[in-house]
Amino acid sequence: MGFVAIKGGEEAIKNSLAFYEEEINLNQKIDAFAIENSLRYGVDKVISEGSLYSKKLSAQAILKAGGDLLNASFFLRAHRSSCARAGIAKTIHTDEMRVVRRISSAFKDIKGGQILGPSGDYEVKLILTKTIDKTVWDDYKNDDIFVESALKPLRDANMIKTLPKDEHISDITRVFPSAPYPRSAVMQIMARGESGSMLAFAYTSMRGYGDVHPTIGDLRLGRSEVKFTHPFTKNEVKIGEIDITACEAAATFEKQSDGSTKLTTGFGCCFGFNETKAISMSILDTTLYNKSHTIGQGGIADNFEMIVHHIDGIESQGFTNHYKLPHYVTFQADLQVYENAKKYLSIGEKK
């Protein structure tokens, strides 16, 4: 093979990559173990958006990406394409998870109580003056906590609108659906969507392009068991536990086709601890499936086409960055069309 035509591309990539590695290897004192244990919200964001539950690989990816979390998620997504699919695990019921944090803003008192758990919400965000408070919690219990959703009493009282269940559960990694989109597919797309994109779309509906004013009915962080039917013994086996965040939002009420009036809700759920993402997802779920209660123009966050195609971080990031690739052929072609149009219009003016 002759190398006459190679315009230095090969050499250029090699050098650029070496430079890049040098640039991010300045922090080589950090190991993946430290990242996994102390940068957990970064690690969790990556397992969720990368759609692969492996905190170990997530930490390695964050190191490799120099802390760029979108890029780290991309490493995980690429990795999962080389793995064969084993099958579908049993449905996880969030009522059955061991919670470390569970709050409801809809009620003052709820069954099981408000469990603040680990949260930085009430931390004063001062970067410089930080004193370490060594309060010892006398009545801290180490028992597992299982609580049902704070919205369960309303659901039991038949006050909450329910959507029909999908008969067939989609797997968007195997078949990407076309419109109209099955609900299970929409939920999967959101579960691995990019947190920031989802936050922005959810925010549009709160702020000015929709009228969803959600109340957080139940927000919970904790661990859930993953169960799987063993391929040989056919017994149900526990294959591990995963950290998840789940949120149920309650919105406005709506007249149903059977004449009754019910409250609408939305559900959000993702890998790891990521409250902002779970809340955003629950809002998007609400806007997508309850769009008829508003007067006026359609919003942005209630449009399936808008949400389904624009919240994946791996795709939007990849495509945005592809504009760095050379485009001189297409630009040349565009310029010629521009020149022709200019000529055509100037002849018109002379007339």
Partner: protein, 275 residues
Amino acid sequence: MRYGFLDEDAKKEIRRATLKAIAIPGYQVSFASRELPIARGWGTGGLQVTLAIINEEDCLKVIDQGCDGSVNAVNIRNFIVSVTDNQTTLDTVCADIIQSRHRIPEEPMREGQTLVLQVPYPEVLTNVEADSYKQKVMHANSDYAKLWVLLYEDTAQFGDSRIGHRYPVMVHDRYAMDPSPIPKYDTKKLNNNKALILLGAGREKKIYAIPPYTKVEPLKFEDREFKVESFANKKCARCGASGVFMDEVHTNEGEVKFYCNDTAYCDKQLEKGAR
């Protein structure tokens, strides 16, 4: 690492989608589209097609914007070689599979060859109808009125369509199709091409095809000429070729020079001249 990186289920799915695409020229077949270690939007559709159809005997050529040596082409070629160990070439004539972005090679392709084009926007209707459900209905009814209106409006205002590259084509008088961002100069090569042309869109999860000897015509009014890019009276400053697609290069001295865009073609002309 397994041959061709992807797991066997993925390859099977892509092959089936490809076969369906060949059976219905110009029709976009959905597929799941796996993530690859190459970023979305950088050729993952074409790459998945190539990885699914390549076998050990195939000789591969990868080009980007007409050039085998540009960074993205090198990157994709190196990745494919690293997971297949296949032979590669710069020569259009020798290649069995050519994966390309934004160009169809200057040298005519022959029977038995496959051209894999990377596609950013598979849906030709996307500029006139954003809703994918409505797009599907329009295709089903062969309803391309909105494309014609766009063409008419452009022609009325500017004397011609404002589309410079990625010019819409009709495939076998049935489906309107986006031919990927090739210049209009290359659009004509799609018609009756002897090679199999496969188009892969990774981010948008679509595969479509133009089988060999398929009628492919640009969407245009009967009484209007289909104007392609012209490099009349221009000669390649390197090999002296004319009548090919050229790159316009502005030198540091302020001079404007033209070079063959297809660098492998340029090399061949240079070799011929030297002999």
